[in-house]
């Protein structure tokens, strides 16, 4: 039909062209612009448009007499358009002219009601759309309370009046008809639509004169026009929902159930999420977490700690991050969790609330071989342990960000969390002495349960002054936490070298009741003053006060009324931190320098009592002052090239657990005791980074270096007695240092098809410790290298290949014969292949090898996972997947560490081979193609 029309018009056009064949090819078009009172409109803008698509062909201005003329223009049809401030844009169709001059004479253009122009265009900042006689209002620009009807909205529009009974007048004339998207709504009564429709469903209101129904039906224009209002509905009303659910069953009783559902509109986001499984997914993955938290995902970075470096303890802002999966690869877990989240966002308010519950039950069997070096030899410990533990958390969080006005912003957030956990650990430990003889054997059966609650809140206020760049900020926060728990310690120890039969066996049965209460209060102030365009002056103040009350009552595990006074205690610790700092910033086109200094003071007090309410036995009170400098420099010499250098001194208070004067004897062969005399650790920190990215070929290279030197570092000094019982106690020691460096590069080998990345690391550390009062310095030199290739030969096959090798050379000054190399190496291949439409084969192969020359230890673990998935149903809503995990049944977790005066390797059992069939239903449908860069945008 359309084609015929086009053809006809072309023919018509040809006919016209024929008819006017004698028309001149070039003509002049002229006229005089006036208003309806025949007053001249000087300088009016006059445009010639192409009538088919309104494209601009030519334009000019009328002169001071309102006269315009286009000279020597093509003699074709035009749309003449004249615009003038305060007047309706004028339009007139021009046909090709038979004469050389097309004189249009006087053109009268109509003024727009000033009221309308002022209110719609200036006050409401909404475009006023004019199409011939139609004036269009943008509904979003006129604020009405939620739940309002269209009638309420119309009352707000300039030029429209609504009387008490709902009759509407537009520009003084009665409105006879209200249509919705051009259609009559509920019969002829115009009020039916305006009284029944919600204002929030409307995007535009158009007011125009429409031919009377009579004229429309008969086709005879009787000239009578009716004022009509048309309501245009919002396209999708900005509302939506999405969600998915997955169910899976596998061999060896494996199963998974997980799902999430979200509903949202422009301002609100609501989501629920839930999961249950026994395949070691202790939470949800990052993309599901993002969908759950919505636009509140990244708010946990609100920082109330002002100034440079690490100022005291970082602000503790608990969230429901524990919904994120965080499995460490060891053991078997049963998991259950879920939550609800609600966000509200508008221009000024961002509100988020959520509730989350999660629980995990862990079964873990592991073996550990540890060799400890002493000044005159070494001994080994062989552990076999079995753990059953359970933990559950409830967490309620809220965050409220409010722009109070254009200069003030307030962020408040709070989190309340309850958790309970219990665990039972059975361990058999054998101590092999320097002569390879079994010296001791211990069987431990410890159990514990713990109830904890934590409430924290933070408020951050920011004020921007009128002067650009001047900013003031203040923050305060508190953390209240309480834990109550009991430890049940049972052990039986055999001393094979004891000559006295009474010393050959020892049994411990002990019950500890622990109660901890902590209150932390923090506050911060920050003020930034622009001294000039280039210089800024920053001032900050940080305060924190941490009070801790710890009570422990140790009892005979068999006779619960018998208290062990030597193992019981009640103490109070208080750490107060004050820091004031000032700094100068300089910036100029890619150079930023910042030089600052801060004075800080720690006040540490500790009081120890034999029991709660008892007489004070020990009191410690100390003060620690320091002046710390800080310098950073960044350079951005050319596009995508950054150099950063920084130097600073960090001072950190000892951890609360290191300060506790409590004897931990859960393992009678490894006894730790806190030290209330600890001083804060001071460290010099130097870092340098250089990065360069070539935008045209996407080659990047990054170099990063960091050096730390520690003074008064908290180290755990050891005394090992003849029975191989280790007593360890944190003490301050200077001289530790560490140096770390990394070089990374990524570059394409074949554009769009093959990229390579390379990475080289070197870490050096020197750690001093006292072992039986002899200084041992552990020197570790760790080298590692990675290479990886990412290959995408077509849209249907993606392959990544990688290899890595790392070697850690560890030297012990106390026992150089024990110097050793810990080696690990790996190879991985991942492939994705869309071999039939909507069907994907995905596999990954990981080969890891572990070696230690001293232990004569060498273990290789090949892991192969393969799965096939197919998308089904309309929009690919259903995904069926058949997967084989760990085809060779080899999975286990191996950890090798070497530090201080020991080296360990640990082997933990975990979920190995299983097969699983899963079905996922996704409301939005699944992606039907492979993604090249994961979630990168």
């Amino acid at each position: 039909m359309n084609r015929i029309l086009v053809l006809l018009s072309v023919l018509l056009l040809l006919a016209i062209t024929q008819l006017y064949a004698q028309n001149p090819t070039r003509i002049s078009i002229k006229g005089i612009v006036q208003d309806t009172n025949s007053a001249v409109l000087a300088d009016a803008t006059v445009m010639l448009l192409s009538p088919s698509d309104s494209s601009l062909v030519n334009f000019g201005n009328a002169n001071e007499k309102g006269v315009f003329e286009f000279r020597n223009v093509k003699n074709i049809p035009y749309l003449l358009k004249i615009s003038y401030v305060g007047f309706l844009p004028y339009q007139q169709h021009l046909t090709p002219s038979p004469t050389a001059i097309n004189d249009l004479g006087f053109i009268k253009i109509k003024p727009i009601s000033q009221e309308l122009l002022e209110i719609v265009v200036k006050t409401a900042k909404a475009p006023l759309s004019i199409k011939g006689d139609t004036i269009e209002y943008n509904a979003a620009s006129f604020k009405v309370p939620p739940g309002s009807t269209v009638e309420d909205l119309l009352r707000k529009l300039p030029g429209i009046e609504v009387d008490g009974s709902g009759n509407i007048k537009a520009q003084g004339n009665d409105v006879k008809k209200v249509t919705v998207d051009g259609k009559t709504f509920f019969g002829d009564d115009p009020k039916a639509a305006t009284k029944n429709l919600g204002a929030e469903t409307i995007s535009k209101i158009q007011v125009f004169n429409r031919k009377s129904d009579q004229a429309t039906i008969t086709g005879v224009d009787d000239g009578s026009k009716e004022k009509t209002i048309n309501l245009e509905l919002k396209e999708n009303f900005k509302k939506g929902e999405f969600g998915k659910i997955t169910g899976a069953v596998g061999t060896s009783d494996r199963g998974v159930l997980r799902g999430n559902y979200n509903r949202f509109n422009k301002k609100e986001q609501f989501s629920v999420i839930g999961y249950a499984n026994n395949i070691n997914e202790t939470g949800v993955n990052w993309s599901d977490y993002g969908e759950f938290k919505g636009n509140n995902t990244f708010s946990s970075f609100d920082n109330g700690d002002f100034g440079f470096g690490s100022g005291g303890d970082a602000f503790f802002i608990g969230g429901d991050d524990d919904l994120l999966s965080s499995f460490n690869g060891k053991g078997f877990t049963n998991n259950l969790g879920g939550g609800v989240n609600y966000n509200y966002t508008n221009d000024k308010t961002k509100l988020s609330t959520s509730y989350v519950y999660n629980q995990t039950k862990l079964n873990l069997d592991q073996n550990q071989n540890k060799r400890t070096f002493l000044q005159n030899g070494s001994f080994s410990t062989l552990d076999t342990s079995s753990t059953v533990s359970f933990r559950a958390n409830h967490s309620i969080s809220g965050r409220w960000e409010q722009m109070l006005d254009s200069t003030n912003t307030l962020i408040t957030k709070a989190n309340l969390r309850f958790s309970n956990s219990n665990s039972a650990v059975g361990t058999r430990q054998e101590y092999i002495n320097n002569n390879d003889a079994l010296q001791n054997r211990i069987n431990l059966n410890n159990s514990s349960n713990l109830n904890a609650y934590n409430l924290n809140g933070t408020a951050i206020f920011r004020h921007k002054f009128k002067k650009t760049g001047r900013v003031f900020a203040a923050s305060s926060s508190f953390v209240r936490s309480t834990t109550d728990g009991t430890d049940n310690i049972r052990s039986l120890t055999q001393f094979f070298e004891a000559s006295n039969p009474n010393d050959q066996i020892r049994a411990i049965a002990q019950l500890n009741q622990n109660a901890n209460r902590t209150l932390t209060l923090k506050a911060g102030l920050n003020y930034l003053e622009p001294l000039s365009k280039r210089f800024f002056w920053e001032n900050f103040y940080n305060f924190s006060n941490n009070q801790q009350n710890v009570g422990r009552d140790a009892y005979n595990g068999l006779i619960e009324t018998q208290r062990y006074d030597s193992l019981s205690t009640y103490y109070e610790n208080q750490i107060t931190y004050n820091r004031f700092g000032t700094g100068l910033r300089f910036n100029k086109k890619g150079i930023n320098l910042s030089l600052g200094v801060a004075a800080l003071r720690y006040d540490l007090t500790g009081k120890v009592y034999p029991t709660e309410g008892g007489n004070l036995t020990t009191q410690i009170s100390k003060q620690y002052d320091a002046i710390v400098p800080n310098f950073t420099a960044t350079f951005n010499p050319q596009q995508s090239t950054y150099i950063r250098f920084g130097y600073g001194i960090n001072v950190n208070a000892p951890s609360i657990s290191a300060l506790q004067p409590v004897i931990q004897n859960t393992n009678p062969f490894y006894i730790t005791e806190g030290n209330q005399n600890l001083n804060p650790t001071k460290s010099h920190d130097v870092n340098l980074s250089i990065s360069r990215f070539n935008q045209s070929n996407f080659t990047s290279i990054n170099l990063w270096m960091n050096y730390n030197y520690y003074l008064n570092q908290v180290v755990y000094n050891q005394t090992v007695d003849a029975n191989l019982v280790t007593r360890t106690r944190p003490e301050n020691m200077s001289g530790a240092e560490s140096f770390r460096t990394n070089l990374y590069s990524s570059f394409p080998i074949i554009k769009t098809k093959w990229t390579t990345n390379l990475s080289v690391n070197y870490n050096l550390s020197n750690t001093p410790t006292l072992v039986n009062s002899v200084l041992n310095t552990t020197n570790s030199n760790a080298y590692s290298a990675n290479i990886g290739f990412s290959i995408t030969p077509s849209d249907k096959i993606f392959v990544t290949l990688g290899g890595n090798y790392s070697i850690n050379n560890i030297k012990y000054s106390i026992e150089t014969r024990q110097n050793q190399n810990i080696i690990s190496k790996g190879l991985n291949i991942d492939a994705k292949w869309s071999f039939i439409k909507k069907t994907f084969l995905e596999s990954s192969f990981n080969y890891t090898g572990y070696e230690n020359d001293r232990f004569n230890f060498s273990q290789n673990i090949p892991i192969l996972n393969i799965s096939v998935r197919r998308l089904l149903m309309k929009d690919n809503r259903l995904e069926a997947r058949l997967a084989a995990f760990d085809v060779f049944n080899k999975r286990q977790a191996i950890t090798q560490t070497g530090s201080q005066n020991f080296v360990t390797y640990q082997q933990a059992f975990t979920l190995a081979r299983y097969f699983m069939l899963s079905l996922t239903y996704n409301v939005r449908g699944h992606d039907a193609k492979l993604k090249k860069n994961g979630n990168m945008f």
Partner: protein, 248 residues
């Protein structure tokens, strides 16, 4: 009576300003809305776009500032030294970016740092294919009319609002050629907006002077467009957002 008074006032304002409104500087705020920008990428699925806007919606805008100097004959559009609220006293290197238009000589002289190099685009001006629409709105105190143009290389639909009472063909970014100064741009439904906040009518001869030394590789407009086209196609194929690197 009130109407007449208003009208009279408007006339007076109009005529008094008229003598001076052909030379000055326009201050623009250029805001990038990243989720909207990312939503225009063809390789992202509907699901990814929705997740993105769900996670970042309402918190994804980034503003910087630009200046447009103009007189009867020419215009120059550059990045401003002004910093946005998040800068807190730090300043990053500004990339070379200067868009020069000479309407009498019909020439362009653009200095653009892009893909690691500085290019000088020198060519004659080719009028964008504007379509003029009928909507009116106010921008920075001026009643503006709506016009549209398409950029097929960057797949952009650009809406411009031009002032009816500033008789200059100048405009922000690389756009020009309307019967009035362009005071607002909206690229792809709000992915990037460039909105005038203030207009100062004053002598700007000094600012309009071309940079003394032009360092960079000289290319024609066609070569410049070709380079962008090739880069965008390549990155889209790799499923990498080309607009992390080049100006949207």
């Amino acid at each position: 009576m009130k109407k007449i008074f208003l009208l009279a006032l408007l006339y007076i304002a109009y005529f008094t300003s008229f003598g001076q409104n052909n030379e000055g500087v326009v201050y623009f705020t250029r805001t990038t809305y990243w989720t909207k920008l990312n939503s225009t990428l063809t390789y992202l699925s509907k699901q990814e776009k929705e997740r993105m806007s769900y996670m970042f919606g309402g918190k994804d805008d980034w503003a910087n500032y630009t200046l447009l100097y103009f007189n009867d004959n020419e215009s120059k559009y550059v990045n401003s030294e002004e910093k946005n609220d998040e800068s807190e006293g730090y300043a990053w290197r500004k990339e070379a970016y200067s868009i020069g238009r000479n309407f009498t000589k019909n020439t362009m002289t653009d200095v653009i740092e892009m893909l690691g190099k500085t290019y000088i685009v020198e060519d004659s001006l080719k009028l964008p294919e504007w379509k003029i629409l009928n909507d009116l709105k106010e921008v920075a105190g001026h009643i503006c009319m709506k016009a549209q143009v398409e950029d097929p290389i960057k797949s952009q639909k650009i809406t411009a609002w031009f002032a009816q009472d500033i008789p200059s063909q100048a405009g922000p970014e690389r756009l020009w050629g309307l019967p009035g100064m362009i005071l607002e741009l909206d690229i792809n439904d709000g992915a990037v907006t460039v909105v005038a906040s203030k207009i100062e009518f004053k002598k700007v001869d000094k600012e309009l002077e071309p940079p003394k030394k032009l360092k960079g590789k000289k290319i024609t407009d066609a070569e410049y467009q070709g380079m962008i086209d090739k880069f965008i196609k390549e990155k889209i194929k790799e499923e990498i957002n080309p607009f992390w690197v080049i100006r949207y």
